[in-house]
């Protein structure tokens, strides 16, 4: 069969030869077969460019010269949630598990994978009860972006100030802010939670202290502090302080002290913030 002869416009009076009918017509239409087997039986020597339709698979195929190839390619998708991707050929990426997100990954054949999203938010690292003349929280994880302490119910038998010293460093805290209605600031050396003495045996206080970039070994660490305490004249003193820990040492511990003497109460929740 002389297949694939292209296009011809017959003129009036032309004789339609078998070769023309085969070459221009029969071999250049979409041939319909029940199946690939039926096609093989009917066309002993397929020619490049032939097109057929198989009723059993609803596939339209062309002959490449060596094999029948589906027009437009066949879909690799088989399952609910499948994604149509590509490596060196069309490929299927099965859906991930619930909650996973699609992630670019050049190590994967298709450059894509389903993966669990990186955890965010806050992780409670410890709960510490303040006790003694000082309480140190040590071996703080270096796996987070920020470090947060939520401090409540701090009590001491005598009036005094409440301090925190990251890495037990008492020389590198500088701050500014407001206590009560008064603006304040300066270099204190330690984080000072109350510029005036807290009232003895009074637990009606709470603070949040956060250091950002606390794992850095090259940069200073900004911090923010807010909360409220009862001063020794029984007045309520809200505080909002911000400042810097001007040390390039990563924070791995913090020491809490009270100038009134031993802690008689108080809880520190230590959080890692991602």
């Amino acid at each position: 069969m002389a297949a694939g002869q292209g296009y011809i416009e017959f003129a009036t009076g032309d004789v339609l030869t078998a070769a023309s009918a085969n070459g221009y017509l029969a071999s250049q239409v979409v041939m319909v077969f029940a199946s690939a087997a039926a096609r093989t039986s009917a066309i002993a020597s397929p020619q490049e460019g032939m097109i057929s339709y198989l009723k059993d698979t609803n596939a339209t195929q062309y002959y490449s010269g060596s094999t029948w190839v589906s027009v437009g390619g066949s879909s690799p998708l088989t399952t609910k949630g499948d994604l149509y991707t590509y490596s060196t050929a069309d490929a299927r990426l099965g859906v991930g598990t619930n909650g996973q997100v699609l992630t670019a990954d050049s190590a994967e054949a298709t450059g894509l994978k389903w993966a669990t999203a990186a955890a965010g938010g806050m992780t409670l690292l410890s709960t510490t009860t303040l006790s003694g003349a000082s309480t140190t929280i040590s071996s703080i994880s270096q796996s987070y972006k920020s470090l947060m302490f939520v401090i409540t119910g701090v009590t001491c038998a005598s009036n005094g100030q409440f301090f925190g010293a990251p890495n037990n460093d008492t020389a590198n805290i500088q701050f500014a802010g407001v206590q009560g209605s008064a603006a304040t600031g300066g270099t204190n050396g330690k984080v000072v939670f109350a510029l005036n003495n807290t009232l003895a045996n009074n637990a009606n206080n709470a603070w949040t202290l956060q250091f950002d970039n606390y794992t850095s070994s090259t940069a200073f660490k900004p911090f923010e502090l807010y909360g409220r305490f009862i001063e020794n004249d029984s007045s309520s003193k809200p505080v909002i302080f911000g400042g810097i820990f001007s040390s390039t040492t990563a924070i791995s511990s913090i020491v809490f002290t009270h100038s009134g003497g031993n802690f008689t109460g108080g809880t520190v929740l230590t959080y890692g913030v991602s």
């Binding site: 006790s131 003694g132 040590s138 003497g261």
Partner: protein, 69 residues
């Protein structure tokens, strides 16, 4: 003389140790306590001076705040 105790909470192992201060820690503690006493004395003197001034002026603390507002 018994020294004050301190608490150390290793949050990696969750081990809590309460122990007596070392000599160096106690020395620093005493310095801090001395500073606290000095600071309290200064604050008390400031409060007394303010009260004396208000008394001389014959006004209350709230009236003084009103004047300064």
């Amino acid at each position: 003389m018994t020294k004050p105790t301190i608490r150390i909470h290793d949050i990696e192992t969750n081990e809590v140790i309460d122990r007596e201060m070392t000599n160096a820690e106690f020395a620093q503690y005493q310095l801090d306590q001395d500073a606290k006493i000095q600071r309290d004395v200064e604050q008390e003197a400031e409060i007394t001076a303010k009260a004396a001034l208000l008394d001389r002026l014959g006004i209350t603390a709230d009236e003084a705040k009103l004047l300064l507002a």
